[in-house]
């Protein structure tokens, strides 16, 4: 029987605490257990509830990492990283280079969309991307999550794990679609992969040859030469899709892809505006319809 991403995370965390390592976070044991991803063991000594002092909390997990507890730190809204990232990015990201000291932290950072306001909505991996020293991945499937955790537990580096609540029910893996001579090449990250998966089917049915390369790792970026070669053969270039603002990671990755391929690469992300708390003021990641419309418009204007 296939397992959901939610259960994969929960099982990973259970094994983590049973191995003597620690999980930190705020409201871990509250109703919902962070989207059902936390083992329901409120009295377990390795599940540590932190107070509402986000900047401090980042420092606490750094201290835990320095003494070998390989903490998993759960930040239940990615926007809270504006506070939480300060000490993690500036200390944990630099200890190896500065002092030859390991400080591995698995930072679970969870995004969601819709009706949740100007901070809690969307992904914010761009905060960490601009700083050297922290690996970043956005796993959306059970196997991807296992791969990222495996990297963490077998290395001495910190990993920012950009999660999305809408992916927690996912059971199956994503499959890349490769057209030999594509019209357009898609490089989606995070939750945008779900809509890209649907958009690709629709575009293909309409005769628009679309290559689709699902991206797990953001830093280091793991876009292989084969993907760049495919981009070089494309008619209209590529699109980087992300759940952060366009000035987060997307434009930087598009820049690198353009240098490597010589082809134009555009970005499609959440919009450059604040989200509100009412649904009419949402700022959502690109939908299937928006992706298709964007590509059709691109082709018509070329």
């Amino acid at each position: 029987m296939e397992t959901t991403l939610r259960d994969t995370i929960k099982s990973t965390l259970r094994n983590h605490i049973d191995s003597g390592y620690q999980i930190f976070g705020q409201c871990l044991t509250a109703v919902g257990w962070v989207g059902g991803t936390i083992p329901e063991l409120p009295d377990h000594h390795n599940i540590i509830e932190l107070p509402m002092a986000d900047v401090m909390a980042g420092g606490i997990v750094v201290g835990s990492a320095l003494v070998g507890k390989r903490p998993i730190y759960v930040v239940r809204y990615q926007g809270f990283q504006w506070y939480n990232s300060a000490i993690i990015a500036n200390y944990a990201g630099k200890t190896k280079e500065m002092w030859g000291v390991d400080c591995p932290i698995f930072i679970r950072s969870i995004s969601m969309e819709g009706g949740i306001g100007p901070v809690a909505g969307s992904s914010h991996h761009g905060i960490y991307f601009r700083m050297p020293g922290i690996k970043i991945a956005a796993p959306m499937t059970p196997m991807e999550y296992n791969d990222v955790y495996s990297f963490y537990i077998n290395n001495a580096e910190s990993v920012y794990v950009s999660e999305h609540r809408k992916s927690y029910d996912r059971k199956t893996e994503f499959v890349d679609k490769i057209e030999l001579n594509p019209d357009i090449v898609l490089f989606p990250f995070s939750i945008t992969r779900f809509e890209c998966e649907a958009a690709e089917v629709e575009l293909t049915s309409q005769g628009i040859k679309t290559s689709l390369f699902n991206q797990l790792w953001i830093n280091p970026l793991k876009i292989g030469d084969d993907q760049v070669e495919n981009l070089k053969r494309s008619k209209y270039g590529g699109i980087v899709l992300d759940d952060d603002y366009p000035n987060g990671i997307a434009k930087q990755i598009a820049y690198e892809l353009m240098l490597r391929s010589g082809k134009p690469v555009r970005v499609l992300c959440i919009e450059e505006k604040s989200a509100g708390f009412q649904p009419c003021n949402d700022n959502l990641p690109p939908s299937k319809e928006k992706i298709i419309s964007f590509i059709k418009n691109l082709i018509e204007c070329s």
């Binding site: 420092g59 201290g63 507890k69």
Partner: protein, 276 residues
């Protein structure tokens, strides 16, 4: 405090003081390319604590920490090399004066964010269960995350000793301009034993004689920064030079310790400067 203990503390204080005097002279000669934060005037704090601490602590200090490093047994040559920017320095030539560390004495480096050593120290104390020292200045103590960290240490009853080296100055801005509260009263308000004392080694000793080194405690220690915030120079305000006072009290014993320590450090410095 016994005379032997007083002398032991004075020896460590002398190591820090004379080291800083030599650094001071070399700043004047432009020997260093990085900013230097001298700890002279504050040396009796780590000299005393390191002498009477029962178990080797995990140490988290900030940018002004030469005296902490030396008092707890950090390698002198590695500190000199660090200030000179050599790969053989205690922070591989990356740390300069402000980000020194020593794995040998469990002293962790500081990255430059004011006060972040305190939540990190609290996290290390929580996760390891080991006795930990969290050292800050009176200015970094004002960081919001420092205060919440002290509160959490109190809540969790962690084995951590917070030291506020209170020289009353944030660069040159006095405490009375910045706040109207004290760290020791704040500590008490969050269930951490808080004390306001001077940097007289006897007073520090008396306080810690009643400490179990297993629970949270905060000492706000009033002290004097002898030199500028950074670099070589003296500010114009009145100051008590605790080191000179105690050296005088110790008489010829103090003079002898000063002379032998200076000779030893002069030799080491000369050799390191020649090999740069």
């Amino acid at each position: 405090m016994t005379q032997d203990l007083k002398i032991e503390i004075f020896k460590k204080a002398s190591l820090s003081r004379i080291f800083e005097e030599i650094v001071y002279d070399n700043i004047k000669k432009s020997a260093f390319l990085c900013p230097i934060y001298l700890s002279a005037g504050q040396e009796f704090i780590p000299a005393t604590i390191s002498t009477i601490t029962k178990t080797p602590p995990l140490i988290f200090a900030q940018h002004r920490a030469h005296h902490t490093y030396l008092s707890f047994g950090g390698d002198v040559i590695e500190l000199i090399d660090e200030l000179l920017g050599k790969k053989t320095g205690c922070a591989n030539g990356m740390g300069g004066s402000a980000s020194i560390q020593s794995k040998k004495i469990n002293m962790f480096g500081h990255d430059g964010l004011m006060g972040n050593q305190i939540p990190i120290a609290v996290g290390a104390a929580f996760s390891s269960g080991k006795f930990t020292l969290g050292i800050m200045g009176d200015a970094s103590a004002e960081e919001d995350y420092v205060m919440s960290s002290i509160a959490w240490a109190g809540f969790k009853k962690l084995p951590i000793l917070f030291i506020v080296e209170d020289n009353n100055l944030s660069i040159l801005t006095k405490k009375e301009v910045r706040r109207n509260w004290d760290m020791h009263t704040f500590a008490k308000s969050v269930n951490v034993d808080g004390y306001n004392i001077s940097d007289d080694p006897t007073e520090i000793y008396n306080n810690l004689s009643e400490y179990d080194f297993k629970s949270p405690r905060l000492l706000n220690i009033n002290t004097t920064r002898l030199f500028w915030h950074s670099g070589a120079g003296k500010d114009s305000y009145e100051r008590l030079d605790r080191y000179e006072k105690i050296k005088k009290e110790l008489g010829s014993v103090g003079d002898d310790i000063y002379t032998t320590t200076k000779e030893s450090l002069d030799t080491i410095w000369k050799q390191r400067l020649e090999t740069r």
